[in-house]
Structure formats: structure tokens, C-alpha cells
């Protein structure tokens, strides 16, 4: 074999060695990866409602819900509907609601309507139920049903509830929305803030400002290039949090009304 032959053989084998191919996968099932909470029939609207969460269990704090609507007879997807939620806590002696977000759109996205409930306590104190009211836009009929939910206390709390130190009366609820799947790297940081008007009404709030500092309490260090969340609408504040490693992180939040500190507290994220 000549030198030239060996040379070209080597080149060839190197090319084969370094070339590779990739496969891409797509998934059609809209509820893949979601956990089913329960089902019900919105009697009068001829609609079956399947309710899902993107977490394994329902936990106190900000909780997303996904609704899949189907015709109760044909089983076909209903992608045009208006869904209204009413969460209710029955503590025996008293009842109260909690903050929530109805699905913003009357059009399903990939057959899913997305809403949320901010459970301000777990089911330890009583019984949580959600009234689901459906206006089926296909037949313009309305119906509702009530579904009980069990709300668990998460291992790491995902919400803050406090009375503002500024006026000593305003009661706020702050929930951690993102990161739902924390990773080493840049993570979206999203919080939602609600203010209690009365026991049945908790409107979104945008008057407070938010700053935060991440810390690894075990190591006593932080992380660089974080972005403080700012209000983006409907009480949702969005920023960025960077995690330089896995483990226990503590986010130290400072909430201010103007220049006055309403509350300083922390939430832990462990991954």
C-alpha cells in the first residue's frame, strides 16, 4: 500500500468517524407529561371536562390547571369555550376563596385550556373544591360542576403570605410560578402577586416592586447576572435567576411599596 492510499483511507475513515445523524421526535398527545386531577360533566353544556396538572400533586401556592373539553356524546374535542373557575375552601365554620386565573383564551391551544389557582393553604385546614363553569361556544350552552381537590403542602414552600409592613393592613400572597423545572444555567424567574380584597376576592397586584438575591446557604455563595422580576401583567412578575450548580438555593426577596419595604422573606428551591 502506498503512502497516498493510506492517507486517503485515513481521511475517509475520519470523515465517517465524525459524521453523525440526529432524529427529531414530535408528540401529538396533548396531555403527555400531565397528571390527571379528575373529570366532570358540565351538565347543560353537553361537555366532558378532564382536568390535568403539570405537577405530580396539587400543592399550595400557584398551581396550573389544564382543561381538555370533549363533546359528551361524540367525544370530539371542543376547542372553543369559556371556562370560569371558583376555588373554595370550606373550613367548617367559614368559607373563603383564593386567587385564580381563568383560561385567558376562549380558544384551546393543542386542545388545552390553561388556567390556575393559587391555593393559599393546604387541605389540612378543610376541604378545597373548584367550581368549573363551561360555556360551550359550539352550542352556546352553559353548564357547571364542582370537583374536590386535595392540596398538599410542598416540601419547599412556594408562596409567601404577609401583611404589608407599610400599612399593616394589606394582605398579599406571592407565589412562585417559575422555575418549575430548575436547572443549572439561566432560569426564568416568575412570581405572581395577589392582594386580598375580601375573603372571596383576591385581585392581581402590580403596585409592589421586587428585588431578589439568590444564595446557596450551605456554601454561602450566590450567582451572577440575575435579573430582578418586573411586572408584565396580571400580577405576574418576570425576571431571570441563575443557578451555578444543583442543590439547595435560597432566593431572598425584598418587596417594596414605593421605597418602603413591605416584606423581606425567602423561598427555597431544591433540585
Amino acid at each position: 500500500m502506498t503512502f497516498k492510499n493510506i492517507f486517503s483511507l485515513t481521511l475517509l475513515s475520519l470523515i465517517i468517524f465524525f459524521s453523525s445523524c440526529k432524529k427529531e421526535e414530535t408528540n401529538a398527545n396533548p396531555v403527555t407529561g400531565l397528571t390527571k386531577t379528575g373529570s366532570g360533566f358540565a351538565v347543560g353544556a353537553a361537555t366532558k371536562v378532564d382536568i390535568y396538572t403539570n405537577t405530580a400533586a396539587i400543592q399550595s401556592g400557584f398551581q396550573k390547571f389544564f382543561f381538555v373539553l370533549t363533546d359528551s356524546i361524540t367525544g370530539n374535542y371542543i376547542d372553543d369555550a369559556q371556562i370560569k373557575l371558583t376555588p373554595m375552601m370550606d373550613m367548617g365554620t367559614m368559607k373563603h376563596s383564593s386567587p385564580y386565573e381563568n383560561p385567558a383564551s376562549q380558544k384551546a391551544s393543542n386542545h388545552l385550556f390553561e388556567g390556575s389557582v393559587f391555593f393559599i393553604m393546604s387541605s389540612m385546614g378543610g376541604t378545597w373544591t373548584i367550581d368549573v363553569n363551561v360555556l360551550n361556544k359550539l352550542n352556546n350552552k352553559e353548564g357547571k360542576f364542582t370537583i374536590p381537590v386535595t392540596v398538599q403542602e410542598p416540601a419547599q414552600k412556594r408562596m409567601l403570605s404577609f401583611t404589608s409592613a407599610v400599612d399593616n393592613t394589606s394582605r398579599y400572597f406571592v407565589g412562585l410560578v417559575q422555575p418549575s423545572k430548575p436547572k443549572v444555567g439561566i432560569n426564568d424567574l416568575e412570581l405572581v402577586i395577589y392582594k386580598r380584597q375580601n375573603m372571596m376576592s383576591f385581585p392581581a397586584d402590580s403596585a409592589l416592586s421586587l428585588t431578589f438575591e439568590p444564595e446557596m446557604p450551605t456554601m454561602n455563595h450566590g450567582s451572577p447576572n440575575n435579573v430582578n422580576p418586573v411586572h408584565k401583567g396580571n400580577g405576574h412578575y418576570k425576571g431571570k435567576v441563575n443557578f451555578t450548580m444543583t442543590g439547595l438555593w435560597r432566593l431572598h426577596f425584598t418587596l417594596k411599596a414605593g421605597d418602603a419595604i413591605a416584606k423581606a422573606d425567602s423561598l427555597d428551591i431544591e433540585f
Binding site: F17, P224, T244, L248
Partner: protein
């Protein structure tokens, strides 16, 4: 019948050695075969370094590090008794090429505990090809030069017998043992060589009589080479090196090495026919994999136990061809390509909490392809012009989303990076009567930032107690170089001296970023690699080999470097003036050698890099050897005392507040069969 070229080598060599009649470099029977391939090496200006290597390897117990540290161009950065990082003219890491048999090999340790030099035991070393500055750019783009450790090759014998050498030794200062053996032989077209070495060493004692904790090490090394002759002028060869280290203490670092494994394999093809224009062709395909894991389980007061594994994998090839158009006109061409994958992570295990995991080298790959040429033109017997050029195309990439996520935390660019590296060198040599010569050279050199400098993620540096973060937008470091030298290569009196001046652009240095908080508990802060501006380096080295009497020789080397940043700060890791001189009396059987090492203090230090002033020192060593027949074989006994006066000293490039070994008595025995 005409004898095969490769069969002739041992005979030729024997004659060469016999003719040269220099007891300096060849009285040891077993070394003869090892010297072999010097015959095949293209004439290099820097052969002095090879001669020095031969001189210093005479001490059988010497590690490659012992030998390298005695070459005037080289200094070693020391973090432990084992695994010192070689520097050429005080250029380190990514500024130099450290190669094994022309192969690229990247350490798997983010703390550079595993330089490629640890995989070559002196018994497996054919020779060292050391080229400084742009002269070394033939094999790779670098500022400081190239050191290529050629692996010992199988030889063809006249008989079918198995030849071998066994040696063993003891060092008192660290209660250290080593043992090594070589078996080699040939059969028809086949020739093979296999070797094994083990070294185990306890903690050593410094000049103050204090035991230096965590300075122990253990390793085994095995090699196998097989050659098959295709024609009179060509052969194919396969080489495998396996090196396993364990329980290696790193007293200057907060962690030790639990396990370090390297596997190095290559197949090569060579043609050598001096009668042709294309007289030497060589090509090699290679692969190597290094695994490394650090260990802190034996350290007291560890705040949090952690694991730090690392992996490096390289595959590549090179092809060279040597064209000799006429006796005074030759061209050396080389093409090479390689791909290197690196990953390293750290996991800490706090109590009652999930483990803390991060990538310290986010998974990354570097693909490199280069071409280089060296044209040598002898205008007449007195004037030689050498021009050398290299062009490298390098692609650097983060290979996983996880890796990209890490790098984006520090604002890094996660896209692939592409660089073109240009290196050019011109050398003019003027010869005079009596084998004296003068040379002048100039060049431009360029190097890539290393994986650590680009992608490093909170890499703790125990030297300055900072965590280091890479910067993906680093520019290449460049340098303009000039050198003049003179020498004389007379038979009994050889000397050589060179002075150089290098001006560096975009010198890469860590700069404190107060916005970052240190990850490592107790660290001072975080430094980010940056192109810090320009810097310069000037220095020189000289060596002398003087056969004063038929049996008495003096070998002496000196070196000095001064390096400064344009800001006025000193550059870090610059070794001070040093002189090593050996006097050797070598009769047929008996030899004695006295040696001293003298180093000046280093007061020109980089406080930014956390350097401290280092005092000068003076060491003396005494070595003896005795060769005697033992049955049909020759036995070689060696004994000596190193650091006779038990001096307490440290070198400027040593990490940690540690002193080097005190007085050491060694005993070595070697038998060949």
C-alpha cells in the same frame, strides 16, 4: 545480499557509539538500543537538548520530570511530588505543545494534575524533541514551543532471543520504590518491545526534617509496541501505553487524586529511503483517553466532601513527508487533525440536602486541522536559511445543552467558535571555522485560549485562592519573537547560548470580577480570564558540554527569564536565574558524578497572581555507578545522595507553602540480559 536498513540500525549505532568514544553518553549497555533512532532524526539545531537528556537519564531512577527540569529551556510547575507541569521558557499550559510521539493529549484534570509527561517513563523514552518559540510550531500552534517525547521503538536484532532489562531502586527521602523491566526482540519481519514500570512512594521529608503530608503517590505504567516491516524501507507499527495512578497526594491543593488512568494507542506507518527525494514519510493515527478523579476523603477538616471526575478523549492523525531536493534544499511538510472532547464535573455532598452538582468543564469539543511546512535552504556550506509556517483551523464547541446552560450563566457565547491560527518563523544560521555558528531568528506565533480559559466554570485555583471562570470571547494570544544564538559543536567542547525577546499581544490573565461570588468555600473571589493587554518576556539559556579529559566531563546549563506586563506588573510563574553543573568521571566500569544546582531568588513577582518572593538556594548531589559482569550479563549498580546538605528550599514555580525533599539517599540496580 543487501541487508535491510532497519536491521542495520543497531550495528550502525554500535559503530557510531564506539567511534565517538564518548563515555559520557553510552557506557550503559542497555541504553544502546534506546539511542537508536537518533540516527533517523532530521538534523536539528537544538540537538543539544537531546544530548542533555541522554546525559541526565544516566541516573536510572530519574523520572522524566527530573530530566526535564535540568534542561535549560524548561521549568516545571510543581503541585506535588508527581505530575509536574512542564513549561518551556516559562510558557505553560495552552502556550506550549506537550506531545507524546507527535500525538496530542489533553489532561483530564481541571487543575492540571496530569500533564502528558507523566505517561512516559524514561525507559520508554526514545528522545525528546524540544523546540522553542516559533521553531516549535511545526507540530502545533503555540507561543512557547513544542516538546515531543518520542516513545522507544522496537528494534531488529540479529538473533531471535528475547532481550531485556530489569531495574529497581529505592529512595530514602520518601521510602520510595520503583521497578521497571523491558522485554524486546524480533522475529522475521516482526519486532516488539514491551515494558512495565511501577513507582510507589510515601510522604517525603523536607530539609527541615518535616514530613510533607499528602505527598505520596503510586503508579504503574505498561507499554507495548509491535512493528512489522513491509519492505526494506517501510514498516507499520502499533503502540499502546497504559498508565494507572492511584492515591496520589497533592499537598499544594485541597484535594488529592484517587484515580488517574490514561490509555494511549496509535498505529503508524513509516517509509525511510534516503535515496529518494521524498526520503522520509510518516503517518500516524491515534486515540487516547484520560480519566481522572480527585479525592478528598483522606483530608482532615473537609467542609463538604466532593467528587471531581474528569474525562479527556482525543483522536487524531498526522502525516509528514520529508523532501530532499538536493543536499542543501529540503522541505518538510506536515498535515494533522485532531478532535478532543473534555468534560469535568464537581459534586458536593452536604448533609440532609440534595447533592450539589456542576460542570467545571462544560462538555466541549475542539476540532483542529493544521498544515505546516519547513523549508531549509543551504546557500553554501556556511549559510542556512530555515523558514517555517503553520496554519491551523480550530473549531471549539459546547456539545450539550447542559454545557451551554452553564456557560450562559456567566454571559458566555454558546455558539461554535472558529479560529484560524497563523505561525511563522524564519531562522538564519551562519557557520564559521571550527564548527562555530551564529544564528538569528524571528517569528510570529499565535495560540488558542484553552478549554479552561474559554469555558471554565468556577475552577478553583489553589495558588491565588480564586475561582476562575472562562470567557468565550477571548481573543487569541499572539507573540512576536526574536532570538539570537551562538554555539560551537567541537568534539570535546560543545557550547550553545541563546537570548530571546518575545512581545505578547492580548496576554490572557485572570482578572477579579467583584460581581461574582466565589463558589469554593474560603476562596477570595472570582477571576475571569481576560485579554489583559500586552506583555513581554526576555531571557536566555546556555549550555556547555566539555570533555575535559578522556574520562572526565563537565556539563553545565544556565537559564534566566524576565517577564513583565505593560502595566508594569511582573508576569507570574517565571523561574529565576538557575545554574546546574555536573562533573562526571566515568571509567569503563566505575563512575562518580558531583552536581550542584544553584538558583537565585525571585523578587520580581506577580502579586496579582498571588505570588510570593522565593529565596535562592544551593543544592549538591553526589552520584556513583559501577558496572560489572554478572554471569553472562552486565549489572549496573548506582547509588547517590541528593541534596547532601539537607537544604530547605522551594522553587519559585512550586505551589503551596511547601519545601522540596531534603537529603535523599538512593540505591539502584539494573541488569540486562
Amino acid at each position: 545480499m543487501r541487508k535491510h536498513f532497519f536491521e542495520r540500525i543497531p550495528v550502525c549505532l554500535y559503530i557510531l557509539l564506539w567511534c565517538s568514544n564518548t563515555p559520557l553518553f553510552g557506557q550503559d549497555d542497555s541504553i544502546k538500543t534506546v539511542l537508536l533512532n537518533d540516527v533517523m532524526i532530521t538534523a536539528e539545531q537544538k540537538q543539544t537538548s537531546q544530548q542533555l537528556v541522554q546525559f541526565f537519564r544516566y541516573n536510572q531512577g530519574a523520572t522524566l520530570e527530573d530530566i526535564l527540569s535540568r534542561l535549560p529551556e524548561m521549568s516545571l510547575i510543581r503541585r506535588s511530588s508527581y505530575g509536574m507541569e512542564p513549561t518551556i521558557r516559562n510558557y505553560s499550559a495552552g502556550q506550549v505543545n506537550v506531545m507524546v510521539g507527535g500525538m496530542r493529549l489533553h489532561g483530564a484534570c481541571t487543575d492540571k494534575m496530569d500533564p502528558a509527561t507523566i505517561y512516559i517513563e524514561p525507559i520508554n523514552l526514545e528522545n525528546i524533541q524540544l523546540q522553542t518559540g516559533t521553531q516549535g510550531s511545526l507540530k502545533g500552534s503555540a507561543l512557547g514551543g513544542t516538546i515531543d517525547m518520542k516513545i522507544a521503538e522496537p528494534v531488529y536484532y540479529d538473533d531471535n532471543r528475547v532481550h531485556g532489562t530489569i531495574q529497581t531502586g529505592y529512595q530514602s527521602v520518601s521510602n520510595g520504590f520503583y521497578g521497571a523491566g523491558i522485554l524486546q526482540g524480533s522475529h522475521g519481519r516482526w519486532a516488539y518491545r514491551t515494558s512495565g514500570t511501577f513507582r510507589m512512594s510515601d510522604n517525603y521529608t523536607d530539609g527541615d526534617g518535616k514530613e510533607v503530608a499528602f505527598s505520596q503517590f503510586n503508579k504503574v505504567n505498561a507499554t507495548l509496541a509491535a512493528r512489522y516491516r513491509l519492505t526494506d524501507y517501510s514498516f507499520v507499527q502499533a503502540d499502546v501505553i497504559a498508565d494507572d495512578g492511584w492515591d496520589i497526594g497533592y499537598p499544594a491543593l485541597p484535594m488529592d487524586v484517587g484515580m488517574a488512568k490514561a490509555r494511549i494507542a496509535s498505529v503508524s506507518y513509516q517509509e525511510h529511503d534516503p535515496s529518494k527525494i521524498r526520503q522520509h514519510n510518516e503517518m500516524k493515527l491515534y486515540y487516547n483517553k484520560v480519566r481522572h478523579s480527585m479525592d478528598d476523603t483522606k483530608r482532615p477538616d473537609v467542609p463538604i466532601h466532593m467528587d471531581m471526575p474528569g474525562l479527556s478523549e482525543t483522536a487524531g492523525f498526522y502525516a509528514t513527508t520529508d523532501l530532499k531536493f538536493s543536499p542543501g534544499n529540503s522541505l518538510l511538510l506536515r498535515a494533522d487533525a485532531s478532535t478532543t472532547f473534555l468534560t469535568a464535573s464537581m459534586t458536593m455532598y452536604p448533609e440532609d440536602e440534595p447533592p450539589m452538582y456542576m460542570l467545571t468543564w462544560p462538555d466541549n469539543r475542539r476540532n483542529q486541522g493544521g498544515i505546516s511546512a519547513q523549508w531549509q535552504w543551504q546557500a553554501d556550506t556556511m549559510k542556512t536559511l530555515k523558514v517555517q509556517a503553520r496554519l491551523d483551523a480550530v473549531q471549539s464547541m459546547l456539545t450539550t445543552q447542559e454545557a451551554k446552560d452553564h456557560v450562559s450563566v456567566t454571559g458566555g457565547n454558546t455558539n461554535n467558535r472558529f479560529d484560524l491560527l497563523k505561525n511563522l518563523g524564519v531562522q538564519y544560521v551562519r557557520k564559521f571555522r571550527n564548527n562555530r555558528w551564529l544564528q538569528a531568528s524571528a517569528g510570529f506565533a499565535e495560540r488558542m485560549p484553552t478549554a479552561s480559559e474559554l469555558y471554565g466554570f468556577y475552577l478553583y485555583n489553589a495558588f491565588d485562592n480564586y475561582d476562575y471562570i472562562g470567557a468565550t470571547d477571548l481573543k487569541n494570544e499572539q507573540s512576536l519573537q526574536a532570538e539570537i544564538g551562538a554555539g560551537s559543536t567541537r568534539k570535546k567542547f560543545k557550547w550553545q547560548a541563546a537570548v530571546y525577546y518575545h512581545y505578547m499581544f492580548d496576554y490572557i490573565l485572570g482578572e477579579v470580577n467583584p460581581d461574582y461570588s466565589a463558589m469554593t468555600i474560603g476562596a477570595n473571589g472570582v477571576k475571569v480570564y481576560t485579554n489583559s493587554g500586552n506583555a513581554w518576556k526576555a531571557g536566555g539559556e546556555a549550555s556547555l558540554q566539555w570533555q575535559m579529559a578522556p574520562l572526565f566531563a563537565v556539563v553545565s546549563t544556565v537559564r534566566y527569564t524576565y517577564a513583565q506586563h505593560d502595566t508594569g506588573d511582573a508576569l507570574p510563574f517565571i523561574s529565576p536565574f538557575k545554574n546546574i553543573t555536573s562533573f562526571r568521571y566515568a571509567a569503563k566500569r566505575f563512575s562518580v558524578q558531583a552536581e550542584y544546582e544553584a538558583a537565585a531568588a525571585q523578587n520580581h513577582i506577580s502579586t496579582i497572581a498571588g505570588e510570593r518572593i522565593t529565596s535562592g538556594y544551593f543544592l549538591t548531589h553526589f552520584r556513583t555507578g559501577y558496572v560489572f559482569p554478572w554471569g553472562k550479563n552486565l549489572m549496573n549498580l548506582q547509588a547517590g545522595i541528593e541534596n547532601i546538605f539537607d537544604a530547605t528550599y522551594r522553587e519559585h514555580l512550586d505551589w503551596g507553602n511547601l519545601y522540596r525533599p531534603g537529603r535523599n539517599i538512593y540505591l539502584q540496580i539494573q541488569v540486562g540480559f
